[in-house]
């Protein structure tokens, strides 16, 4: 495919964006004086700021392009990632888990594991999270360079280094603060840059009903064909969706992945921290109207031979991720196409900044301060955070080159999450709600849970075991296998943790005060009116979720 031809106006738009994010980094540096400013944005954000950043940290361009492409491949079922696969977990985080996190004044998720369990569990999670973050960050960089190379015709190396250096500059200057600022700007750019694509697609095809009429029948439903995996595009049953995605993967990601939870830690008080994921849930539910709609529009157009629309191919293999950029090129005129490209760039760079700001925090507190230099002063930790940002970016660039040499690496992203986050959710859940769960139980449960997930993955890949054993079905897709593997890894971690806890030494009630249900005071809400309480907004969010699922059933 020839590169999309940009006009001078498009280049001006892209330039404005780069100037802006660098300018914000420089502007915010004067407000970044302490380690808390750098790692937690001073803990002074409102729930709106933290909520939008919480959502945007997850709304990278890889996600946008990948999910639009997945919709082309699997149909409406991809909406499960945004609804049942996100909202219950976000509400659970806000209502039940945030009081434990926020009240214990921890700076990271591994920090909670140290308080609740012990140092070895913290270090284990710190290392696995740091490795996962760098890998995801590198894949993100790789994907960005690929987009700039494919659609703008840019040299691969120039694309990669230009974006990596920009992120390095503004995160090094002001840490989480600038990451949050750029994430919120990215949120607006994505909506202004890409929602118009959905609108124009609807105008061209005629109506929502017409889009559904043009796509295969199994692709146009959300639940009604989930009883038989052969009847839906994702080849999965409702059990896999509910247990694997809706419970384990979703709760594992949204409640324990420090990349997103760090945004809630930056809130100014407990109520704002609890409201952070709840407010974000409303925006999360709206994302399918951008991403899923674009994927369905691309699918409907590609099935119409008169439309002239088709996805790119790499060596005869359809590139599903090209759906969104191809629609941008189809609909957006000069100026707006620059905005569309900028929205993707902003998504990539904010995703990169999010990963790096989470990495520098976990490295500084949970690895460096915990293992290497326990007596480091706050100023030294601030310096280390800045140094870790630069090293993290360089390691990401290395990972990006590695990803480039392995063309299928992006397929492994969901797999990586199922290795780390799924077992961790079992550890967290037991840690917060069962006071007799022991440090040794948590540590070995986590080790066995992660190992089992990796073993299942390798077992299927090298044909040691049948996929049927994992998915409980004769037919399944890679996505279905990911969902089921996550469920089994969670269950194994859950059971092993309980089993070992029965025979090992517990912590005392005094040591667990403020960390476990029953030993933690309930959030004080006496002075807050009912319509300002987090639970009120969580109920509204839940009602909207139910209505959406019933409407698209």
């Amino acid at each position: 495919m020839p590169a999309i031809g940009l006009t001078i106006v498009d280049w001006v738009i892209i330039l404005i964006y780069f100037a802006f994010v660098l300018g914000i980094g420089i502007y915010l540096k004067r407000f970044t004086r302490s380690e808390e400013d750098f790692f937690l944005a001073g803990r002074k954000n409102s729930s709106w700021v933290a909520g939008l950043a919480f959502l945007s940290a997850n709304l990278g361009a890889l996600e946008l392009m990948g999910m639009a492409g997945n919709t082309f491949k699997y149909g409406m079922y991809v909406a499960h990632f945004y609804w049942i696969g996100a909202i219950p977990a976000m509400l659970f985080l806000g209502i039940y888990m945030m009081p434990f996190y926020y009240s214990s004044r921890i700076k990271s998720i591994p920090g909670y594991l140290k308080l609740r369990f012990d140092e070895k569990t913290r270090v284990l999670n710190g290392f696995s999270f740091a490795a996962m973050t760098l890998l995801v960050s590198g894949i993100n960089l790789y994907a960005m360079a690929l987009v700039l190379h494919t659609f703008l015709g840019w040299n691969w190396d120039v694309s990669l280094w230009a974006s990596a250096l920009t992120v390095a500059v503004y995160v090094t200057l002001s840490g989480l603060m600038s990451a949050i600022f750029t994430e919120i700007i990215q949120f607006f750019l994505i909506w202004f840059g890409l929602f118009l694509v959905s609108v124009l697609g609807l105008v061209e095809i005629g109506s929502w009903d017409e889009i559904l009429r043009r796509v295969p029948e199994g692709f146009a439903k959300l639940w009604s064909n989930s009883g038989d995996p052969t009847q839906n595009g994702m080849l999965i049953t409702w059990g896999g969706i509910v247990l694997g995605l809706g419970f384990v993967l979703s709760f594992g990601y949204w409640t324990t992945d420090f990349l997103v939870v760090q945004r809630a830690f930056s809130a100014r008080n407990l109520r704002s921290a609890r409201m952070t994921p709840i407010l974000a849930s409303f925006f999360k539910m709206a994302v399918p109207f951008l991403v899923i709609l674009c994927g369905l529009i691309a699918l409907a157009l590609s099935r119409d031979p008169h439309s002239g629309f088709h996805l790119m191919s790499d060596a005869g293999k359809v590139n599903y991720d090209s759906a969104l950029p191809m629609l941008i090129g189809r609909y957006l005129p000069p100026g707006l196409v620059g905005l569309g490209i900028t929205a993707l760039l902003a998504g990539f760079m904010a995703g990169q900044a999010g990963n790096i700001s989470a990495f520098n925090t976990v490295w500084t507190y949970d690895i460096y301060h915990s293992v290497i230099n326990k007596k480091a002063s706050p100023q030294h930790l601030l310096w280390m955070g800045r140094a870790a940002t630069i090293v993290g970016i360089l390691l990401s660039v290395g990972t990006a080159y590695w990803a480039k040499s392995m063309p299928t690496i992006m397929d492994y992203m969901q797999t990586i999450f199922s290795w780390v986050n799924a077992p961790l959710f079992a550890t967290m859940l037991l840690g917060m709600y069962v006071k007799w769960v022991t440090p040794d139980g948590a540590f070995w449960g986590l080790i066995v849970g992660m190992s089992s997930s990796i073993t299942m993955y390798l077992g299927v890949k090298f044909h040691w075991i049948s996929t049927r054993l994992i998915t409980l079905s004769d037919v399944s897709s890679d996505m279905a296998a990911n969902f089921w593997r996550a469920w089994w890894a969670w269950l194994i971690c859950f059971l092993v943790t309980i089993l070992i806890s029965l025979f090992t030494k517990r912590k005392t009630d005094e040591e667990l005060t403020g960390l476990v249900k029953g030993l933690t005071p309930k959030p004080a809400e006496a002075g807050i009116r009912w319509y300002r309480r987090p639970a009120f907004y969580a109920v509204i969010s839940l009602i909207v979720l139910i209505i959406l699922n019933l409407y698209f059933w």
Binding site: W11, V158, P334
Partner: protein, 103 residues
């Protein structure tokens, strides 16, 4: 006594500023294309060149105007206008405020 601590502008100020500036560029470009002349495309490429100290060259190539589906609806004009409006609201709301108050 004067408080020497600098006050941070709220994020909404920056959101407004970027939407306003981008919207203005898109709106004016749309009007120019409608009433004056279509814009040629400009490719900026970075081909490898080991002999350059940067490792690559910077090449600018001009091309014909790009046609898009539904161009007759002039989405650049009304969407650019919408961005200017939204940007102005955010900008004005955040202009006199500080992060502590506005958030």
């Amino acid at each position: 006594m004067v408080d020497a601590t600098p006050k941070m502008k709220p994020i909404w100020f920056f959101v407004g500023l970027i939407l306003l500036s981008m919207g203005l560029v898109i709106l004016l470009a749309g009007l120019y294309i409608l009433y004056v002349h279509p814009l040629n495309s400009v490719m900026i490429l970075f081909p490898r060149n080991p002999e350059s100290w940067l490792g690559f060259n910077i090449v600018v190539k001009m091309g014909p105007p790009r046609s898009t589906v539904l161009a007759s609806l002039h989405p650049d004009i009304w969407w650019g206008g919408f961005m200017v409006l939204a940007g102005a609201i955010f900008f004005l709301a955040g202009r006199k405020s500080t992060a502590d108050k506005a958030d």
